[in-house]
């Protein structure tokens, strides 16, 4: 057999090609194992009607409002409280579509509005760091 092709430079090229393939294989294999799943699960909460008002108490979980998907009925007033676990800018509660922006200083403070149009509306803190969805049915 002719081994004249097996020069030093060729060996280095071969080795480096193997390293390159190794990098791709490692990245793809571990990427497939590690980059899967989503920790954010959408918990849908249906607001109960108490004395003619739909009451929702939001708390803090994984740096977001929890529950962050709330189902309410159209035409009945909705009252949203933030419990004591909610801190920082997340206490500055906004729902742009209803023109609501209020700093809920204590767990007893609330925002109240009556949704009339069916749809999905976003609620958020004033900086947009905590967000959620209000589903009006």
């Amino acid at each position: 057999m002719d081994f004249s092709i097996w020069t030093k430079e060729f060996t280095i090229t071969m080795k480096n090609s193997i390293y390159l393939i190794g990098i791709i294989v490692l990245a793809v294999a571990f990427g497939f194992i590690m980059v899967k799943g989503n920790s954010v699960s959408e918990e849908v909460y249906t607001a109960p009607v108490i004395d003619g008002v739909q009451e929702v108490v939001l708390s803090l979980k994984d740096y977001n409002y929890s529950p962050n998907t709330v189902k309410v009925q159209a035409g009945i007033p909705v009252r949203i409280y933030l419990d004591s676990s909610v801190v920082g800018c997340l206490r500055d509660f906004t729902i742009n579509d209803f023109g609501i922006r209020k700093h809920l200083k204590t767990p007893e403070d609330y925002v109240e509005f009556t949704p009339t149009i069916i749809g999905r509306y976003t609620f958020a803190c004033s900086m947009g760091m905590g967000t959620g969805v209000l589903i009006v049915e």
Partner: protein, 224 residues
């Protein structure tokens, strides 16, 4: 000094950049696998919660460590190059470390880890070229560490994982750019020595500490 010559410089020599990245990845993924089978698999929701960030932290460290390893053997750069080296490595390493730890542990712990990694590596790489490189490494590590964690927290509920990929891609391009600068400055000269031990130890330390801080370390009130 064409791009073709640069790519040969990076991939086609005994102490090539791809070899360093490969060694670093082998070490880091081995650490991860060992930790996973010993302890991490018992952690609830481990992969969905931490897998993504640890994976990208490992990829980032492999590029950072390999770049640092390739720069260290050249000891004679002008002050301006030293500043650029210290600033780039300090900023990128601080930002990435801060970002991925900030995403799991919050602003404070992400910043502290990011600043620690950024300042250490920035100073270490910048000291090749005098006090200006050291100062620049220190300042950029400080800034990068804070910015990385802050960005992660600001994007927490706004496509954080996509941001993590974008941040990694941009940082990789910048690090390749730094390697190109080194290539131009040294005119493709051979390095004085090859230090794979450094590569292995640093990859091991960074990966181990990142996994430990992310999974078992303290976290901010907001993420408890």
């Amino acid at each position: 000094m064409t791009f073709k010559e640069f790519s040969k410089f990076m991939t086609n020599r005994n102490d090539s950049f791809v070899k360093s990245v490969f060694i670093s990845l082998i070490v880091s993924f081995s650490v991860f696998l060992f930790a996973y089978f010993i302890r991490l698999r018992y952690v609830e929701d481990f992969m969905p919660k931490y897998g993504f960030y640890i994976f990208f932290a490992i990829l980032s460290y492999s590029l950072i460590v390999s770049t640092l390893k390739h720069i260290r053997p050249y000891k004679e750069f002008p002050c301006m190059s030293g500043m650029m080296i210290g600033m780039t490595l300090g900023m990128i390493s601080g930002f990435l470390a801060g970002f991925y730890v900030g995403a799991t542990n919050g602003m404070f712990y992400g910043s502290v880890w990011g600043m620690l990694v950024g300042i250490s590596l920035g100073v270490w790489s910048g000291k090749c070229c005098g006090i200006m490189g050291i100062m620049e490494g220190m300042m950029s590590g400080f800034m990068g560490g804070l910015m990385g964690a802050m960005t992660a927290i600001m994007m927490f509920n706004d496509n954080l994982k996509i941001a993590g990929v974008i941040v990694f891609v941009i940082s990789s391009v910048i690090l390749i750019g730094l390697n190109f600068m080194i290539f131009r400055e040294t005119k493709g000269a051979d390095r004085k020595y090859e230090d794979n031990f450094f590569n292995i130890v640093l990859s091991f330390l960074l990966t181990t500490l990142t996994i430990w801080i992310s999974v078992f370390g303290p976290r901010s009130l907001l993420l408890q």
